[in-house]
Amino acid sequence: MPINRIEEDELLRPAFKIKLLTRLFSYLKPYKLQVALTLLLMGIVTGVDLLNPYLLKVAIDRYIATKNLTGLLCLGLVMIITILVSMFCTRKRISLMATITNQIHLTIRQELYAHLQKLSLSFFDQRPAGKILARVIGDVNSLNNLFNTSVTNLIPDLATIIAVISIMLAMNYRLALASFLMLPVLIVFMGAIEIISHRRWQIYRQKSSNLNAFTHEHFSGIRVVQSFTAEEKTRKDFHLLLREYFDAFIRAVRLNDLFWPSVEFSWGIGTIIVFWYGTRLLNTGTVTIGLLVAFSGYVSMFWRPVMNISNFYNTLVANLSGAERIFELMDVKPSIQEAEDAVPLPPIRGEVEFKDVNFGYQDGQIVLDRISFKVAPGETVALVGPTGAGKTSIVNLIGRFFEPQSGQILIDGFDLQKVTIESLRRQMGWVPQDTFLFSGKIIDNIRYGRLTATDEECIAAAKAVHAHEFITKLERGYDTEVQERGARLSFGQRQQIAFARALVADPRILILDEATAGIDTYTERLLQQGITRLLAGRTSFIIAHRLSTIVNADRIILIDQGRIVEMGTHQELIKKKGHYYRLFMAQFRFLAAKEKPVTQSG
């Protein structure tokens, strides 16, 4: 799958709506009892609502007309008691429903999030973060009212409709059928609206997602935007997306706003039919006057819940596309899956072996070409080569972030495909190229490497990587809050914290992916001393371009265009006078080249 751009809409998968609905409402299942209780409470309240007009009538007929003040006061008291009961029932119903709906909301979001955690890196690489975020946040939010209205409106309204229909049929089936005449018309009409408008809501959600992705990127990259004075251009792009979003919304509501009037219309026409037909029947003597009058009352009793239901249907249609997007994400299968019989990797010594590994991020692409090597426990391996040679890919495969297309990767003789991912990664420490800190305290960022690490262990790790000095100089020391990209700390300092984070993990295999690029030589030396002391005997892979970082490695693997071109220690490779020798000598050549004469400046 190609990488998704911001302005590009996400692909849509046609879904069966029935399936979608069943899946959506299956979240209500665990709350059967609460739903029943809610309905009972609502029944009581409705009962009181129905009882009170009757009691009023009684008050007037029986007590006021007969001038019985005591009786009137007694009845008043009775009525107050009933409305008190009703008040408590409503209160209970509200809190009960709030619990159910918010629980469901929580469940769906957590389920989605849990699933997201299982997905592989390739999933995240293919789409802008803002679009994934839109599903976890916006789409889940869009389900807010759905469950609430479905319980508190749909069920009682359906019950009312059925009751009214039966009464009407029992009274006079011809008149009844005449008054239902508009119902099928309405249903067909609404079905038609739904089919078109569902598609429009889908587009609306996509546009909303695009907008989200855009804001995400342009605020993450605000420094770039400002430094290129691209505010104007960015604003224009934003307006363009905003316009699309607006248009999509309008196109959707233009149709959706037809719901309400169409019910009104059917109601009106339905009423006309009843009277027209009713008076005819009256003339032929099939119905009595009383029946027709009573019937006209039932007609509005019938249409009111129909209106409520269609209102609910309206909400459902508008938000179904949100549910669809949630479930679609839930159904994405992680591209890297543990084998059924995967076993936890026991504590390892750190032997790493690549056997004829071929790899590409996409089919047909060759990033690594028949890579084979074996690293003994405790060895330090430097991966050297031009940018894009495949160095990061090799370490990515060791952590099983991607799967080789063919060949085998073994750690302590265990095939990576046959062990659980967590047990593997837990034994590795990683300092990535792109330093990422989470917003929170520095100490918690270090602890991220091993959640059970004590403060002392975290501080020891910080000391080892020479970060202790600058951290303690900060106003709040280790409790200083940093932001996601760690602003306020320099780039090199963030890398040092990332180092400390990897160290507290107490890894058997340490991977440094250009991790010292932003660190000066002096700090790097101290840092490496610290690491060497802490991680004596651990296997480590180092990707670096500064040769001073590389020369001390036990073994240097030179990679070019996905292939191993040379392998050996610094001394061996220098003696060999091959690629590495040329690379090594080049720095002196570059240094000597175009040496400038001393100018008068300075």
């Binding site: 990488i3 009137l72 004075t229 706003d257 009037p261 008076t279 932003g518």
Partner: protein, 590 residues
């Protein structure tokens, strides 16, 4: 209403947006009023049919009455649609304008604001809070008007029937109003918290996705799940609290409205018994009183929704209240032709009272190269950030072509400075779009290709099946660190500015590529270059090398001079070259 002064301003901002969309709201409002007016006719026609056609048998009237009924129905259908659509349209317009303005405002804020604000929070404000406001201010306006009209007309009828009983009916109104206001206050408070919590949830999820590599590398999926769960549970708690507030006050309102009906009956009954009132009036009166119940209960709903909307407005207003710390000059100096002569004159920079840079002075004549070295946290990046005024220096002055940079219009100044930052940020777009981001519309194909050549990217791009049209992921996913840096470099090169800043921008490149790029850069005679680097190979050809230590220049000179000086620079040199032969680290001179 809450916090009167602030609240006023809060509402004022939104109303000004609503005011701008008058032409949608006014017709919608008209449709609403007309619809209410028409509403009164249908019962009339129905009564006509029942009383006169059915009961009195005047069948001739039927067609007329039905025609009238049909006409009213049509009218209501059309007006109803216009009303809904008009409010939706106007409401969404308001939302979109608010979003656009907020976006523009945020863009204009300085780096320090973004240093302390998470992207997730901004997204939450731009999306969720604006949505909340849209919902509140379209439907609340619509329903309030409806509500007020119903309430006023019913009350008028009541007073016409019997003023004493009317007073009894309205006796409980102040209590209902008090409850509604208290409801608004409490819901408002909790909604502000929900809104903040929403921002936190957004931030947590956003970081989880943005930092997915770290999450996976440390196998922290479970931990992340729990972190999110905790946020969500907190959110759940707030939402339940909000529901409880609603659950406490709304039934009270309901109770009081029901109570007023009972009161009317009892008091009215007493009046009837005392012969002060006829039974007929009482019956009619109690019918109308029940009509009063609906708008009173509705006021509870409206207050609730209004409070939610206002909470979001408050949050957005807080963002609008943030001002850029870097300000445009009051009287700007405008230059048309920049040469790139950069002078730092005793510049110091303090942040939160901490000295970041102290007494920095140097001069970079047009076309020269200044290199900056130093340990992490020495202030290198801070120094170059002052040039484009991403932060403002505390004392001293920086001059560009003889003009203090604070006197130049901000955009004009920044257009003169191209910067390649340490933390490479690329957009999810094609390679070409990413590079063109740096240039203006006049950028030609040749210039683009020249930049590719200079950034040593030409061969790499030629090898891609889709070439320049290759889409790269967010932050340049799919590219190696070195490729990303070169793209960022090309992007800066197409911005033909007299000053070029490379902040550790070649650290992920192999030596050979770095060398090629350096040679290309040296050819750019028209540009003043400020280069931060750690490798000797990257700095040695500079006209002047500055070594920074704790915010101060501690060593300066050319490569040769500094080698001869034999201190810090010479040590770094030894470490990177001779040091290779004797790997053990020696204590440093500093």
């Amino acid at each position: 209403m809450r916090a009167s002064a602030e609240g006023c301003e809060t509402v004022h901002r939104i109303l000004s947006y609503v005011n701008k969309e008058k032409r949608y709201f006014i017709p919608a409002m008209g449709a609403l009023l007309l619809g209410i007016f028409l509403d009164m006719f249908n019962p009339y026609f129905l009564k006509l049919i029942i009383d006169r056609v059915i009961i009195a048998g005047e069948s001739a009237l039927l067609t007329k009455a039905l025609a009238g009924f049909l006409a009213v129905t049509f009218g209501r259908v059309i007006l109803g649609y216009l009303k809904e659509y008009g409010f939706d349209y106007g409401g969404q317009k308001v939302a979109v304008h608010l979003q656009a303005d907020l976006f523009a405002h945020l863009q204009g804020l300085s780096f320090d604001f973004f240093d302390r604000t998470n992207t997730g929070e901004l997204m939450s404000r731009l999306k969720d809070d604006v949505d909340q406001i849209r919902a509140a201010f379209t439907y609340v306006i619509m329903l309030s008007v409806e509500n007020v009209i119903y309430f006023v007309s019913t009350t008028a009828i009541l007073f016409a029937l019997n003023w004493k009983l009317s007073l009894v009916a309205l006796l409980l109104m102040p209590f209902i109003a008090r409850i509604a206001l208290r409801l608004e206050k409490e819901v408002g408070e909790i909604c502000e918290r929900i809104s903040d919590q929403g921002a936190k949830i957004n931030t947590t999820a956003q970081e989880n996705i943005a930092g997915v590599r770290v999450v996976k590398a440390f196998g922290r999926e479970q931990y992340e799940y729990r972190k999110f769960l905790q946020q969500n549970q907190e959110n759940y708690g707030y939402k339940l609290k909000r529901a409880r507030i609603w659950g406490r006050y709304f039934p009270q309102i309901e109770f009081l409205t029901n109570l007023s009906v009972i009161l009317v009956t009892v008091v009215g009954g007493a009046l009837v018994i005392g012969d002060d009132l006829s039974v007929g009036t009482l019956v009619a009166f109690s019918n109308y009183v029940t009509m009063l119940i609906w708008p009173m209960r509705m006021s509870g709903w409206l207050m609730n929704d209004l409070a939610e909307g206002l909470a979001s407005v408050t949050k957005i207003n807080q963002l609008f209240a943030a001002v850029p710390t870097v300000q445009e000059p009051a009287v700007p100096t405008i230059l048309h032709d920049f040469k790139g002569h950069l002078v730092f004159d005793h510049v110091s920079y303090l942040r939160d009272g901490q000295v970041i840079l102290e007494d920095i002075s140097f001069e970079a004549p047009p076309g020269s190269t200044i290199a900056i070295m130093g340990v992490t946290g020495a202030g290198k990046t801070s120094l170059v950030n002052l040039i484009g005024r991403y932060y403002d220096y505390t004392s001293g002055a920086i001059y560009l072509d003889g003009v203090e940079i604070r006197k130049l219009p901000l955009q004009l100044l920044r257009r003169q400075v191209a910067m390649v930052m340490q933390d490479t940020f690329l957009f999810s777009a094609t390679i070409e779009e990413n590079i063109r981001f740096g240039g203006d519309d006049t950028l030609t194909r040749e210039e683009l290709e020249e930049a590719l050549e200079q950034a040593a990217l030409a061969e790499f791009i030629a090898e891609l099946p889709q070439g320049l049209a290759t889409v790269i992921g967010e932050r340049g996913i799919g590219l190696s660190g070195g490729q990303k840096q070169r793209l960022a470099l090309a992007r800066a090169l197409v911005k033909k500015s007299p000053i070029l800043i490379l902040d550790d921008a070649t650290s992920n490149l192999d030596l050979e590529t770095e060398y090629r790029i350096q040679q290309a850069l040296e050819m750019l005679r028209g540009r003043t270059k400020i280069i931060i680097a750690h490798r000797i190979s990257a700095v040695k050809n500079a006209d002047e090398i500055l070594i920074l230590e704790q915010g101060r220049i501690v060593e300066r000179g050319t490569h040769q001079q500094l080698l001869a000086f034999g201190k810090r620079y010479a040590t770094i040199y030894r470490d990177q070259f001779q040091g290779i032969k004797t790997p053990e680290v020696k204590p440093y001179a500093y």
